[in-house]
C-alpha cells in the first residue's frame, strides 16, 4: 500500500516536472536544435550528428535576452521592467487600500458589513472579458490605454477583493487591546492604525502582497487588449512573438520564462506557510 502511494507520487512528480525540465534544456539550445525532427535531449560540449540525441549546450540564449529580437520593439529586459513596475506599484496600492478597508471592516460597526464584504468578493468572479470592453472604452476617453497607469489601476482593483479578504483575516487576529491602550494614551485613530496596527499586520501585508503580485505578474487578458503598444508586459511580449518570420526564438523564450518566473517561485517558497490562506481568500487558515 505504501509502495503504491510512493509509486503514484513518484510517477506524477516525474511527469509533472518533465515540462519544467524541458524548459531548462530548451533554454540551453540553439534554435535549429529546438525545431529538429530528431529528439535532442542530451547537452554536450559539441554538436552531435543530425539524428543523434546530443545538442551543443550554450548560454547564448541568456546573453541574447538583452538583444532586440526581430518583430519586437525592445529587448526582453524592457518588458521585464514594465512587468515589474506595473506589478509592484499595483501590488503596493492594493495592499494599502485593502489593509485600510480591512481595518475599517474589522474594527467599526458598519451597517451591512457582511453584504459589503461579499460584494467585494463577488467582483473577483467577473470574467475579465465581460469588463474589458467597457473599460477599454473608458480608457480611450481618458487616454489611459497603452500606459503603465492604466494597467496599474486595473490590477489594483482586480486584486482588491483578495487584499481586503486576506487582510481582514490578519487584522482580526490582532487583539483590540493594543489599540485600545494606545487610544487611552491619547493616540488618534489614524496614529493607532499607523503605529500599532500596520507594524503588527506587516507580515500579513507581505503575504497579501505576494499573492497580488503573482496575479498581476501572470495576467494576460487585460494586458493584451489594453496595453499592446507602449507599456507591454512580459506575457504579452512572448505571446506576440508567435508568427515571427524568423520563427519563435524558443531558446530565448525559455530563458526569459525562467528569469520571469524565478522571483514568483522564490516568493512562493517564502510564503509557503500562508499559501492555503492566499488561494482561498483567507477562508482557510493553517
Amino acid at each position: 500500500m505504501r509502495g503504491l502511494r510512493f509509486l503514484f507520487v513518484g510517477v506524477y512528480l516525474c511527469l509533472g516536472t518533465l515540462p519544467l525540465l524541458w524548459l531548462g534544456i530548451t533554454s540551453l539550445k540553439e534554435r535549429p536544435d529546438t525545431i529538429s525532427v530528431h529528439l535532442k535531449w542530451l547537452p554536450s560540449g559539441a554538436a552531435g550528428a543530425e539524428d543523434d540525441a546530443y545538442f551543443a549546450a550554450t548560454l547564448d540564449a541568456y546573453r541574447q535576452l538583452g538583444v532586440v529580437y526581430a518583430g519586437a520593439d525592445h529587448a526582453f529586459y524592457h518588458y521585464l521592467k514594465n512587468s515589474a513596475l506595473i506589478g509592484l506599484l499595483s501590488t503596493l496600492a492594493s495592499v494599502f487600500i485593502g489593509t485600510s478597508a480591512a481595518y475599517g471592516f474589522s474594527r467599526f460597526p458598519i451597517p451591512g458589513a457582511k453584504d459589503w464584504l461579499f460584494f467585494i468578493l463577488s467582483t473577483r468572479f467577473l470574467p475579465p472579458l465581460a469588463v474589458v470592453v467597457p473599460v477599454l472604452m473608458m480608457y480611450r476617453e481618458f487616454d489611459l490605454q497603452n500606459t503603465h497607469l492604466g494597467l496599474i489601476i486595473l490590477y489594483t482593483v482586480f486584486n482588491l477583493s483578495l487584499a481586503v479578504w486576506l487582510m481582514k483575516g490578519f487584522i482580526d487576529e490582532i487583539p483590540r487591546a493594543y489599540e485600545e491602550a494606545a487610544l487611552v494614551d491619547g493616540y488618534s485613530r489614524l496614529q493607532a492604525f499607523r503605529l500599532i496596527i500596520i507594524p503588527r499586520a506587516a507580515s500579513g501585508m507581505a503575504v497579501t502582497g505576494v499573492f497580488c503580485l503573482i496575479s498581476a505578474w501572470n495576467e494576460y487578458g487585460f494586458a493584451m487588449t489594453l496595453n499592446n503598444q507602449d507599456a507591454v508586459t512580459v506575457p504579452v511580449y512572448f505571446a506576440g512573438l508567435q508568427g515571427n518570420v524568423q520563427g519563435i526564438p524558443w531558446p530565448q523564450v525559455c530563458a526569459g520564462v525562467l528569469l520571469f518566473v524565478a522571483p514568483i517561485i522564490l516568493f512562493t517558497v517564502l510564503v509557503r506557510r500562508h499559501l492555503l490562506r492566499g488561494v482561498t481568500f483567507g477562508t482557510l487558515k493553517q
Binding site: I35, N244, V245
Partner: protein, 434 residues
C-alpha cells in the same frame, strides 16, 4: 528654492523647444517580414532627401490585425500610414478609418501603370468602383518552394520515371502535383511530400483552399448580388475541396493545420519536399538553403489556374492630424516614383504593382522566386473584402477545417458554410433578406 525654480523654468523652455523643433516624422505600421525591413531602408533615403523621418514598425502577422484595429479605436492612431491587408479595405473605407485618396492618387501615380488586379483588390473599394482608399505598396501571391536538390537527384529521377513514366520536374497541374507529393512522401524516413495552407489561426486555410475552389469552377459568391448558395457549394467547389483534402495524406506531420510559419519551419528543417506560402516569406529560406531550393507557381486544373492574392496597400489614417496626413502623402508619392520602384524590386520579397517593372529583366533577376511571382500575377483572385470580411473568414476557417478534419463530408461542410455566409451577409445588409 530660487535656483530650483529657475532650473524648472529652463527645463520647461527646453522641453517646449524640443517639441516645436521636433523633426517631422511619418510612422508606418506593417507586418513583420523582409519587405518591411526594405521599406525602412527606403524610408531612410527619403529622410536624406527631404528631412522627413520615416519609421516602419513591424508587428508579427498573427497579432497585426488585432493591434491595428484596436489602435484605430483610439482618438488618435499611433501610425500615420497603415499598410493594410487586402481584405481590410472595406472595413477601413466604410468605418471612417482610411482617408479617401480618389482625387489625390492620380497626381502621385499613373493609375494606368498599376496592374489591374492589384488596383482592383488592393486599392479600390468597392472593387472596380474607381474609388481609391489605398495606394499600391506590396503586391503578393502564394507560390510553392521545393527541394531542388531532391528533384535533381539522379537516383530519385530514375525511380520517379520507372514509377510514373515521365520526368521528375516541378508540377504544372494539380494531378502531377499529387504524384510528386506521393513520390516524396516517406514518413518512415521522416520525409514528407508537401505541406499546403490549412492553418486555423487567421486566414491560411482560406488562402490554401481558394486555388482549388476556383480551379474546379466554384466561387465565394456573386460579387454583385452577394448570393452564395450555388457558387460556394456547387458541384465543382465540392470536387475541389475533395481533391484538397485528399492531398493531405502526403502532408508533413501536423500538416492538417499548417499556417505560413508552420510551413516555413517544416521546409527549413529539411523534412518536406514542397510547401506553399506567400512569396515574401521566402527570403529567409533562400538565404539559409541557397541552391537547394526552387520555386513553381500554383498548379492548374485543366485550363483553370487561380492563385490567392496577398499584399497590402498604403492607407492613410483618418485619425491622425492633417499635417501628418500631408507628410504621409509626400512619402507615398515619393515611393511611387519609377526610380524608387526600381530600387524597391531589388530587395528580397519586395514586389511592385507596376506592370512594366514586373516584366523587366532587372526584377526577374533580383531574386530566385521573382520570375515565378511575375508569372503568377495574371491568375490572382481575392477573398471577400466587405466590412464583415472577418466574420466570413472565421466561418470559412471553421467549416473548411471540419471538412479537412473529416468531421463532416465536403458537401455538408460547404452547404453549412454557404448558409452561414449568407446569414452574415444578410446581417450586414449586403444580401437581401428573404
Amino acid at each position: 528654492m530660487e535656483r530650483a525654480v529657475r532650473g524648472g523654468i529652463l527645463l520647461l523652455c527646453l522641453s517646449w523647444a524640443s517639441t516645436v523643433w521636433a523633426e517631422e516624422k511619418v510612422t508606418i505600421w506593417w507586418a513583420q517580414w523582409e519587405p518591411a525591413a526594405a521599406l525602412q531602408i527606403l524610408g531612410n533615403e527619403f529622410e536624406e532627401e527631404t528631412g522627413i523621418a520615416v519609421e516602419v514598425k513591424q508587428i508579427p502577422w498573427p497579432s497585426y490585425q488585432d493591434q491595428v484595429f484596436l489602435n484605430f479605436g483610439n482618438n488618435r492612431t499611433d501610425f500615420d500610414i497603415v499598410i493594410g491587408d487586402s481584405q481590410w479595405i472595406g472595413r477601413g473605407a466604410t468605418k471612417g478609418l482610411y482617408l479617401e485618396l480618389t482625387d489625390w492618387l492620380p497626381s502621385a501615380v499613373d493609375i494606368e501603370t498599376i496592374h489591374p488586379r492589384a488596383a482592383r483588390y488592393l486599392c479600390e473599394y468597392p472593387p472596380g468602383s474607381g474609388k481609391f482608399f489605398a495606394a499600391p505598396c506590396e503586391t503578393d501571391a502564394i507560390g510553392f518552394v521545393y527541394r531542388k536538390d531532391w528533384f535533381e537527384n539522379e537516383g530519385e529521377r530514375a525511380a520517379f520515371k520507372t514509377r510514373y513514366g515521365r520526368e521528375l520536374q516541378p508540377p504544372d497541374t494539380w494531378q502531377e502535383f499529387r504524384d510528386v507529393a506521393e513520390f516524396f512522401h516517406r514518413p518512415e524516413q521522416k520525409r514528407y511530400g508537401m505541406s499546403l495552407l490549412t492553418g486555423r489561426g487567421y486566414d491560411s486555410i482560406v488562402m490554401g483552399f481558394q486555388p482549388f475552389l476556383w480551379a474546379w469552377g466554384g466561387d465565394w459568391g456573386d460579387a454583385e448580388t452577394f448570393e452564395v448558395q450555388g457558387h460556394l457549394n456547387s458541384d465543382g467547389a465540392v470536387e475541389g475541396l475533395r481533391f484538397f483534402k485528399d492531398l493531405l495524406q502526403f502532408a508533413t506531420e501536423g500538416g492538417e493545420n499548417a499556417d505560413y510559419y508552420f510551413n516555413l519551419e517544416a521546409f527549413s528543417n529539411g523534412s518536406t519536399a514542397m510547401v506553399l506560402d506567400y512569396f515574401p516569406f521566402y527570403p529567409g529560406i533562400v538565404e539559409s538553403m541557397g541552391d537547394q531550393v526552387g520555386f513553381f507557381k500554383v498548379p492548374r486544373n485543366g485550363d483553370r489556374r487561380f492563385i490567392s492574392l496577398g499584399g497590402q496597400g498604403f492607407s492613410i489614417s483618418k485619425k491622425t492630424p492633417a499635417h501628418q496626413q500631408e507628410l504621409a502623402k509626400q512619402f507615398i508619392a515619393w515611393f511611387q516614383q519609377r526610380r524608387v520602384q526600381e530600387k524597391w524590386i531589388t530587395y528580397p520579397g519586395c514586389f511592385t504593382a507596376n506592370t512594366e517593372l514586373l516584366e523587366s529583366d532587372a526584377f526577374r533577376a533580383a531574386s530566385p522566386y521573382n520570375a515565378t511571382f511575375a508569372e503568377s500575377l495574371d491568375h490572382l483572385r481575392d477573398f471577400w473584402n466587405v466590412p464583415v470580411y472577418n466574420e466570413l473568414l472565421a466561418a470559412a476557417v471553421q467549416h473548411l477545417g471540419e471538412a479537412l478534419d473529416g468531421v463532416r463530408e465536403p458537401r455538408e461542410a460547404l452547404d453549412a458554410l454557404a448558409e452561414e455566409h449568407e446569414m452574415i451577409l444578410m446581417e450586414a445588409g449586403l444580401l437581401e433578406m428573404q
